[in-house]
């Protein structure tokens, strides 16, 4: 028996690591964690569709535009898994997302629709699966916007541990409290030395005051435009108002936690037919055109149409599965 103990230990360790790597299948609503691959990439589509590729673990072939999807067409979370944390039992869509920590199922997001529970949250509020609700007006307070402008793209900036600590504290603050003290959010972001970059559904245009477009990337901490719509897109694209002529919107946004602008990837609200051409479902690089087409993102679902739009995106550090596996196998061989 004793000689089997090391093998059992290694086997258990292997099972644990495989589970950690998401090889045992995606999480369901009851899962305590997201598949690890969702730390790498997570997104949502613009519209519902039927997968003809990998069958989801729950057996339902209909993929909602509110579901969180991952690499190789896994389902990171059904919409009900995300909003269920708020005692919501209907699909509300998924408009913005940032997967903070797959291990603790910590996901920040916004919905397409207001909560059916009256006054609980709007489609412009920032929600986190730990129960946090940060009202849209708190995000916009540094811009002195006294109403809800929607939340279309989302990216937390800063040290991961600080972000988790901030969210832990934020989860204890009721929505009404954020509204009572609109400056509190920016203060806490400064205190934790983090930021929330985001985009809105509507533009702000006030005579005599600097406004912003729904295609600009904004800072909730500093109340500034982090990247204008014109900076996000190559110079050949007529992006930005009034100088170049068109607001392309900013429908999804992701970058590394250090806030390196060169790492920004995003999608727009409308397509462009000039050079470089792109659709509103393509994943674009900062100032550099298409990084990944919509079809590349969704192809493995084998949908009946090659375009499904892109509504939310989260991109993290690549999990080096091969490295983990090599380490495991090395360990196993030693035994």
């Amino acid at each position: 028996m004793r000689k089997f103990i090391p093998h059992i230990a290694v086997g258990l360790m292997l099972a644990f690591m495989l589970a950690f790597l998401g090889l045992l299948g995606p999480a369901t609503g009851q899962s305590p964690q997201l598949p690890s691959a969702c730390a790498e990439l997570a997104f949502s589509t613009e519209e519902d569709f039927v997968t003809r590729g990998p069958a989801p673990p729950d057996g339902n072939l209909v993929i909602s535009d509110g579901d969180l999807l991952g690499p190789n067409c896994i389902i990171c979370a059904r919409n009900l898994d995300l909003v269920g944390r708020f005692d919501v039992r209907v699909d509300l869509g998924l408009d913005a997302v940032d997967v903070i920590d797959v291990g603790s199922y910590l996901v920040a997001f916004s919905t397409e629709l207001d909560s059916p529970n009256s006054g609980q949250f709007t489609a412009g509020d920032l929600l986190v699966t730990n129960g946090t609700i940060i009202p849209n007006r708190a995000l916009l307070a540094p811009f002195q916007v006294p109403y809800d402008l929607g939340l279309d793209g989302l990216q937390f900036i800063g040290d991961a541990r600080s972000i988790r600590a901030f969210l832990a504290e934020a989860s204890k603050i009721p929505r009404e409290e954020w509204l009572r003290n609109l400056g509190r959010l920016a203060g806490m972001l400064r205190q934790y030395n983090i930021d929330i970059w985001f985009s809105t559904e509507g533009s702000l245009s006030i005579v005599g005051r600097p406004g912003f477009l729904d295609g600009d990337l904004l800072s909730a901490r500093d109340g500034v435009i982090v990247a204008t719509n014109s900076a996000l897109l190559p110079a050949s694209v007529p992006a930005g108002i009034p100088e170049r002529g068109v607001d392309y919107g900013l429908d999804a946004i992701a970058c590394d936690r250090s806030g390196n602008r060169q790492s920004i990837q995003f999608s727009t609200e409308i397509l462009y037919r000039g050079q470089p051409a792109f659709t509103d479902g393509d994943l674009l690089r900062y100032g550099n055109g298409v990084g990944r087409t919509n079809e590349e993102l969704v192809r493995c679902f084998e949908p009946r149409a090659g375009f499904l739009g892109l509504d939310a995106i989260s991109i993290g550090q690549r999990v080096e599965r091969e490295t983990y596996l090599q380490l495991l196998l090395k360990l196993f061989r030693r035994r």
């Binding site: 072939l61 699909d91 207001d114 009946r304």
Partner: protein, 621 residues
């Protein structure tokens, strides 16, 4: 929240307290005038009522903001918001703040425009939804149906629309179309604006009851997918719904040709339903709409195109917004309102040069597709030339008396004409007199181009043959119909590209003299040129009574920017050909529809320039 009328009376009251005696008479007069003229639903600022009239038949909004490089809006602001209501010819019918006027919302705030139905411009009655919730807590959400009119403003909450589907939460409002008698719809709206939003919320069944009572309906689409339930069908955001009956009027799959994989779960994809419009009778064959996502299959479409039920694209996004001359040709389509009901004297040009007006590019003026002539021909990015028949939709002969056709030259390729000239040339037109008499009548417009309406014309509508000889370039034409009472109705302009210039052709031989002799076995070499602004094809052949053939393969145009070739070398080996009199003939064609027809069969088309060289091919001595 005070209405503007109440606000006005408050103003009267406050002023009166300050200088009651002195101002009383003046303020009372102002109050009387205000009440007499009616409380403005949209602010009358030079762009209120008059511009909303421009949207009586067609209105839309874009997905994103942009700067117009074309017509400058009356308020001088070239930035067009995705919340503004736009009309034909790139008119700004109402700014977003004008739609929201009276809701006590700051003029700086733009809430977007997600769905619209322009019900009655005289009453300035517009129903719509916004992209964002009202900044006034509890006033309305982005899913509510908002009403503005001279009679007041109202809000029908989303849950009232969804009540018959058993959905008790706000699921958004993306497309909107009132169905039924316009009188009953107006009466319903006037009743609805008197009902506070809270009453609808407390009694959401009230809406369907009121709709049934007036035999009208509200067709709409949502932003989100509804939950599956046993009590009602599951709704997708691509389905067209009935608020009265709680049924799906047309599922997403039913909107598209069979080749589009629309509909869940059977076909695989929900394409959404972002904008919708049809006639008030609810004729599904006339249903026009736009989607949330594009489709790159066949028939391809973008989420900014206007599609017809089961029939693909009827108007591209570029056709809609091209006259704004935006820096990008795609701006999306978020809301659409089309009055399919035609006024008795409503003016529309339906055919130009034998081509249905819908087959002519709204910005290029070039025709494509099959003609409506007998026999039909197919146009390929074709301009027009020669006599160009203009046909207008026949109006009511009892209510309308005269019509005229006007044209305007585009000063540059991107600027529509600002001045219009009437067509005044006389012509002849066949008239039918019952029971079997055809009479050719002389038609002589007056100096302003006015012609009486000929009710028993055999031409198929209001007919005018335009002699375009000598004209080249981009023109717009428009039709005006005058009511017997004098009111004039102007059609949407149709852009037509004119080309009355024959192609350029040259044919030179390197060694053979004109009318010289060629010996069998010689290789004849030379160069040709065949060009035109609207180049279609050229062909170089040798011909004799004993033998004929191509020297160069037929060269056809590849795109609208293809203007042909210059100095193309050729060589013709005469070995084996019989001795005879020969000619080498170069023919160059353009793509012009000349005199309402395709003059030439393949590989020719419109204007032709032929060049030929004759000589004798003789046996060696």
């Amino acid at each position: 929240m005070p209405t503007s009328q109440q606000a006005h009376l408050i103003l009267v009251s406050r002023k009166g307290r300050v200088k009651m005696k002195k101002l009383a008479t003046i303020l009372a007069l102002i109050a009387i005038v205000s009440i007499t003229l009616g409380v403005p639903a949209l602010p009358i600022s030079g762009q209120g009522q008059s511009n909303l009239t421009a949207c009586s038949e067609f209105a839309f909004s874009t997905e994103e903001d942009f700067v117009t490089q074309g017509p400058t809006p009356p308020d001088g602001n070239p930035v067009i918001s995705d919340g503004d209501l736009l009309g034909p010819g790139c008119v700004v019918c109402a700014r977003n703040r004008e739609l929201l006027y009276g809701f006590d919302i700051s003029q700086n705030i733009d809430l977007g425009l997600d769905a619209v139905d322009v019900l009655d411009v005289q009453r300035q009655m517009v129903v719509f939804s916004t992209e964002l919730d009202s900044p006034n807590t509890g006033q309305f959400t982005a899913g509510d149906l908002i009403i503005t009119s001279t009679g007041g403003r109202g809000v029908i909450p989303n849950i009232a629309l969804m009540h018959r589907f058993g959905i008790r939460y706000d699921i958004g409002l993306d497309g909107l179309q009132f169905i039924g008698s316009i009188q009953q719809i107006i009466a319903f709206v006037e009743e609805a604006i008197r009902i506070p939003r809270g009453n609808w919320v407390q009694n959401p069944a009230l809406l369907s009851d009121m709709l049934r009572r007036r035999s009208i309906d509200i067709w709409f689409s949502t932003e989100g997918t509804g939950p599956a339930s046993a009590a009602a069908p599951q709704v997708f955001d691509g389905d067209l719904l009935s608020a009265r009956d709680g049924t799906i009027v047309v599922s997403n799959g039913g909107l598209f040709p069979a080749s589009v994989p629309a509909g869940i779960p059977n076909n695989g994809v929900d394409f959404g339903l972002d904008a919708v419009a049809t006639d008030r009778a609810g004729n599904l064959q006339l249903l026009l709409f736009s989607t949330e996502i594009l489709f790159s299959g066949t028939p391809g479409f973008t989420d900014g195109d206007v599609l017809q039920l089961g029939n693909g694209v009827v108007k591209t996004n570029e056709d809609l917004v091209g006259c704004f001359e935006p820096k990008a040709r795609f701006l999306g389509l978020d809301a659409l309102s089309i009055s399919v009901e035609r006024p008795a004297c409503g003016a529309a040009i339906i055919r130009v040069g034998g081509m249905p007006a819908g087959q002519i590019g709204a910005t290029t003026g070039l025709a494509n597709g099959l003609s409506s002539t007998t026999p039909p021909f197919e146009a390929h990015d074709s301009p027009f030339g020669g006599w160009v028949e203009i046909l207008g939709l026949m109006p009511s002969c009892t209510e309308c008396s005269h019509f005229k056709v006007e044209y305007g030259l585009w000063p540059n390729p991107t600027t529509p004409p600002s001045t219009w000239l009437p067509l005044t040339d006389p012509f002849q037109e066949w008239r039918f007199i019952w029971p079997g008499l055809f009479v050719l009548v002389n038609r002589v417009p007056d100096a302003n181009g006015w012609l009486s309406i000929l009710c028993n014309s055999t031409m198929g509508g209001l007919y005018y043959p335009w002699n375009t000889s000598g004209k080249n370039g981009k023109y717009s034409i428009r039709l005006t119909i005058r009511e017997t009472g004098g009111t004039e109705h102007v059609s949407m302009p149709v852009v037509v590209m004119l080309d009355n210039t024959a192609p350029t052709a040259s044919l030179t031989l390197d060694t053979v003299p004109i009318c010289g002799d060629v010996t069998i076995g010689d290789v004849v070499t030379g160069k040709i040129t065949g060009t035109d602004l609207h180049f279609y094809s050229y062909r170089l052949r040798y011909e004799s009574s004993l033998a004929s053939g191509d020297i160069l393969p037929v060269r056809k145009y590849t795109s609208v920017s293809d203007t042909g070739d210059t100095n193309v070398a050729f060589s013709w080996n005469t070995t084996g050909l019989p001795a005879c009199g020969y000619r080498i003939i170069l023919e160059v064609w353009d793509r012009t529809i000349v005199n309402n027809q395709r003059i030439w069969g393949e590989p020719g088309f419109g204007w032709r320039t032929p060049l030929q060289i004759y000589f004798c091919l003789e046996a060696a001595q």
